[in-house]
């Protein structure tokens, strides 16, 4: 407060009150009394303006993570309300509610409370349906968000930590979903728990102990439902919320990445400020996502547990599948052949169950989690990256991503093999055998095809920059030669296509050191160089100004047709094709029948 001399006595003690009163006036003028009250107690003014002035770039693909965030909010709200009616107990009761096909049937309290929510609690069914649809939307949006981040290279420095957090969040989200849909203890999810117990049992050495510990005894037991409830409502949400907070704090600290474009560099972020634009857009989007989820909950049934019936270990339904995000694990279980069970030292090692159920998922997520570090080791790139890659400009990465996705998709499709069989009239055995082959053949094929597509897209970009876009107008010169007019790209259009870096593999440093002695490279260095050159194989470099200038001379070296690319606007009429003529004999290779063969005596168009 006041740095002046401290007045003595009671009057002196009061002296500061006038200062406070003056400050209060100040508050009233500029921020409102409430804001002032808060700032007096928290120094919130500076962080508030820091947050409100934050710039976010505008692109729809940046909203995918927001869909996940908003779905999480919906799940928390709807889930909390559901816990007021759900009874997480496996104790047996006889049903006597309003749903006729279950009257008099014994069932668990968990199942009964869920049926009551669906039929006897006002608004209960819409609440359950919104909750489950939001869970599906949550997992779907996490997945597409992860794909967007991967294919644009947004996981590079400084965002590797965020990528790892995101991978963990994704794993937690699907487990949260699994525990959640197992809570009602219906026939379908109970079958899923039975399968889960089966694969825990298959763990070598400790499997039966782990199964008994988790289920509190033999399957099904009375402990699993309350334990799943604790995991689903307390444990996992707490971890998810903590990690997700760290995730968005990091986004704020790093500032969001942006797509390359005119005016956007690696050292700036171009977009709109949080206040007011993003508060309205992002806030509005929350309501839109919630509204769409509510619409689905209103019109489309999800998880009709009243039709499945209560769980009974001797009952099963045809077409037993888990929710979509566990589909790849179920598919892996269906595809893995049965002969992989061996006996070691008199104990069975059930790899046909252990690998697809308990190894595939953690392995895939681990590979995903360490990918940024692998890529930076291979490329040797230690710079910060805030400009995103167009996927075509990183063909190897895009190809690897396509390979991973195709592997995942084959497993995912395998989980629905019986439904594919009845809907398409095929044999389920043939489908399974085909997919067993496909899971090994399709991913490398997908890699190769995707990589070639990226490279051809890159070459097309080069072509567009060098030769402009074809207008379809044919021009006939006085000598009777035909050329097609190409519209050159404007500087603004062109920038996005030429801003990327040339592929630059790590090369082995000099083989001879300062004293002239041959330097031996370590295995690691040689491996690095080899993988690096594989990563950058056949990468297509961007067009340089020199190349563009060379291309503007359309192959006949005549002054008359050399003009700047942007001259199209000045000379209307016949002259506007000047400098942009392509096609004709001059651009054909020498071996071509239609190539001009006179040495240097090519007249070209007048």
């Amino acid at each position: 407060m006041s740095p002046e001399s401290t007045p003595k006595g009671a009057a002196g003690l009061r002296a500061r009150d006038t200062k406070a009163a003056a400050l209060a006036e100040d508050h009233k003028a500029k921020g409102g009394a409430l804001a002032g009250w808060l700032d007096d107690r928290t120094s919130a003014a500076k962080p508030t303006s820091y947050v409100l002035k934050k710039i976010f770039p505008d692109h729809w693909s940046f909203m995918l993570g927001e869909i996940a965030m908003f779905s999480l909010v919906i799940l928390l709200v709807s889930g909390t309300i559901l816990t007021f009616w759900f009874v997480p107990s496996a104790g047996t009761v006889i049903y006597n509610g309003s749903y006729v096909p279950l009257k008099g049937i014994p069932m668990s309290e968990a199942y009964k409370s869920t049926i009551d929510i669906s039929f006897d609690v006002r608004g209960g069914l819409i609440l359950r349906q919104i909750h489950h649809w939001a869970a599906l939307l949550f997992t779907v949006s996490i997945t597409v968000h992860m794909f967007r981040v991967f294919f644009t290279g947004a996981f590079r420095k400084p965002r590797e930590i965020n990528w790892v957090i995101g991978t963990v969040l994704s794993l937690l989200a699907i487990n949260e979903g699994f525990t959640g849909y197992s809570l009602p203890d219906d026939l379908l999810s109970g079958t899923g728990l039975r399968a889960a117990e089966g694969f825990i049992q298959s763990v070598p050495v400790i499997g039966s102990y782990m199964a008994y510990f988790l289920f509190g005894g033999a399957f099904p037991g009375e402990a699993i439902i309350p334990r799943l409830f604790t995991i689903h409502v307390l444990l996992l949400p707490a971890v998810i919320i903590g990690l997700f907070t760290a995730h968005i704090v990091l986004v704020a600290v790093h500032k969001h990445t942006q797509y390359p474009g005119p005016g956007r560099t690696n050292d700036n972020v171009v977009g709109y400020p949080f206040m007011p634009v993003y508060m309205a857009k992002a806030g509005g989007f929350l309501f839109v996502v919630f509204g769409i989820t509510a619409l689905m909950g209103a019109l489309v049934t999800i998880n009709p547990i009243w039709l499945y019936g209560p769980y009974n270990p001797s009952q099963i339904t045809a077409g037993s599948q888990p929710d979509w995000y566990m589909g790849f694990a179920d598919g892996a279980l269906r595809l893995f052949p049965g002969f992989f069970e061996f006996n070691i030292f008199g104990h069975p090692l059930s790899l046909n169950v252990f690998i697809p159920s308990l190894v595939v998922m953690p392995l895939l997520y681990t590979i995903a989690g360490v990918y940024p570090f692998l890529e930076s080791w291979v490329t040797g790139d230690r710079r910060e990256h805030h400009l995103l890659d167009r996927p075509r400009n990183a063909p190897t990465r895009t190809g690897l991503g396509a390979m991973a996705i195709s592997f995942y998709l084959v497993l995912f499709i395998a989980a629905g093999n019986d439904l594919i069989a009845i809907k398409l009239g095929l044999s389920i055995n043939e489908i399974t055998q085909t997919l067993r082959v496909a899971v090994l053949v399709v991913p490398p094929l997908a890699y190769w095809v995707t990589k070639r597509i990226c490279m051809s897209l890159q070459r097309r970009d080069r072509d567009r920059v060098l030769h402009g876009t074809e207008t379809g107008r044919i021009v006939r010169t006085a000598e009777g030669r035909f050329f097609e007019v190409h519209e050159p790209m404007t500087e603004l259009e062109r920038w996005t296509l030429v801003q990327q870096e040339s592929p630059a593999p790590r090369e082995l440093s000099a083989t001879v050191d300062a004293n002239g002695l041959e330097k031996k490279h370590t295995l690691r260095e040689r491996l690095q160089a080899k993988i690096s050159s594989f990563y950058f194989t056949a990468g297509v470099p961007p067009v340089t100004p020199a190349e563009l200038a060379a291309a503007a001379h359309d192959g006949s070296a005549r002054e008359a047709i050399e003009t700047e690319p942007n001259s199209g606007g000045q000379d209307e009429g016949e002259k506007d094709w000047v400098g942009q003529l392509h096609g004709g004999a001059d651009e054909r290779p020498e071996t071509d029948a239609y190539a001009s063969h006179e040495d240097g005596a090519d007249p070209g168009p007048a």
Partner: protein
């Protein structure tokens, strides 16, 4: 363009062109065009594109129209909220209403859901439309700073840690360091022990045994009535539980292991001697718990005499002692030896001779 991809335009140019190029700041080297002098190495960023104003920025009419649209959307939202509140109390949760395209749907669910959706979407679309039409859409650029802190800051942090660490005398007092490590390492254990130590009983022999005992009658599931030999006609399938299992204190847990499927085959079709010995007139009983991960194997295809598990499509041939013929299971289904008692009812002649269900380590 060649397949190598690194070939730029110009490789096929004839000599005079190459010569002509030399004078324009480019040189052709090994077919690659390189810049020299006048032309820059790479393109430069042209800067932000010119701002294009929206109609609401230019005309007040357009702005007012946008305002009206936003207000309408918010208004619709308010109406929908009121509809939700009224419907919540007015509609009986048991009412069904025919909705075209859906069928007989629960009216309360549909009305509450749609009104909620409209009230939310109204706000959402309204806010977004407001932002798009009326809020500033001039792009703003903000500078980034490297994440790396300045050298000074780093030095300061390191210094703070080291001096305070030194001040704590941790380096000089190794005894403290070691005992601290030990204490912290051990203190987490009570929590771990509480969580795991109190967890569940040990499996013991439970996984290897079922409720079945010699002499127990085979009962229909779920009615729990006994089955006479004469009830079983050719091609029949019965889902079976042991007598008395519903009175067991852990009925559900016992049922999860004791489920049995009774199948009537023509005796001539059975190809394994042991299977025939354990059957009665071609009626065989097998454990219904799949040896893959434990789903009930209920699908019996009586023409092909195969049992199919719907979970992962493990297929067992009942004429071959339930050997696996397709799918991810490895072991055949265990057979229950059955016989007929004095009154003509089917009974178990012995309990299962091997553990049922999925593989586990101690199974041997």
């Amino acid at each position: 363009m060649s397949e190598q991809g690194t070939e730029p335009a110009g490789e096929h140019l004839s000599q005079p062109v190459a010569a002509a190029r030399q004078g324009q700041g480019q040189v052709e080297r090994q077919g690659r065009v390189e810049s020299q002098g006048a032309i820059p190495e790479r393109f430069t960023n042209p800067g932000l594109p010119p701002h294009v104003p929206r109609s609401a920025d230019l005309e007040e009419n357009a702005a007012r129209r946008a305002e009206r649209q936003v207000a309408t959307l918010f208004g619709i939202s308010m109406v929908a909220t009121v509809v939700f509140l009224v419907a919540y109390f007015a509609i009986d949760p048991a009412t069904y209403q025919f909705i075209p395209g859906i069928g007989q749907a629960n009216l309360s669910n549909v009305v509450l859901g749609i009104s909620l959706a409209v009230s939310l979407l109204g706000i959402g679309f309204g806010a977004v439309h407001w932002a798009k039409t009326l809020m500033p859409d001039t792009e703003v650029s903000e500078d980034r700073h490297p994440m790396r802190s300045s050298q000074a800051a780093r030095r300061d942090a390191v210094e703070t840690i080291t001096t305070s660490g030194a001040a704590a005398q941790l380096g000089r007092r190794p005894l403290i360091k070691y005992t601290l490590g030990g204490a912290l390492g051990l203190v987490a254990l009570p929590l771990v022990v509480q969580l795991t130590g109190g967890l569940g009983p040990l499996p013991g022999t439970e996984l290897a045994t079922t409720f079945w005992r010699k002499g127990m009658r085979l009962m229909r599931d779920p009615e729990m009535t006994p089955i006479k030999l004469s009830d079983v006609t050719l091609g029949s399938v019965f889902h079976v539980m042991p007598e008395g299992i519903d009175l067991s204190p852990h009925a559900l847990e016992e049922k999860a292991k004791a489920a049995v499927i009774l199948i009537s085959l023509p005796p001539a079709a059975i190809q394994v001697t042991k299977e025939l010995d354990w059957s009665v007139d071609g009626i065989v009983a097998y454990s219904m718990i799949c040896t893959h991960v434990g789903c009930p194997v209920g699908l019996y295809e009586h023409r092909t005499h195969q049992l199919l598990c719907p979970c992962h499509q493990s297929t067992f041939d009942v004429t071959q002692d339930a050997a696996v013929v397709f799918g991810p299971a490895h072991r055949p289904l265990p057979q229950l030896q059955i016989t007929v008692d004095a009154d003509g009812y089917l009974i178990a002649a012995a309990p299962f001779q091997q553990p049922v269900g999925p593989t586990y380590w101690e199974r041997g």
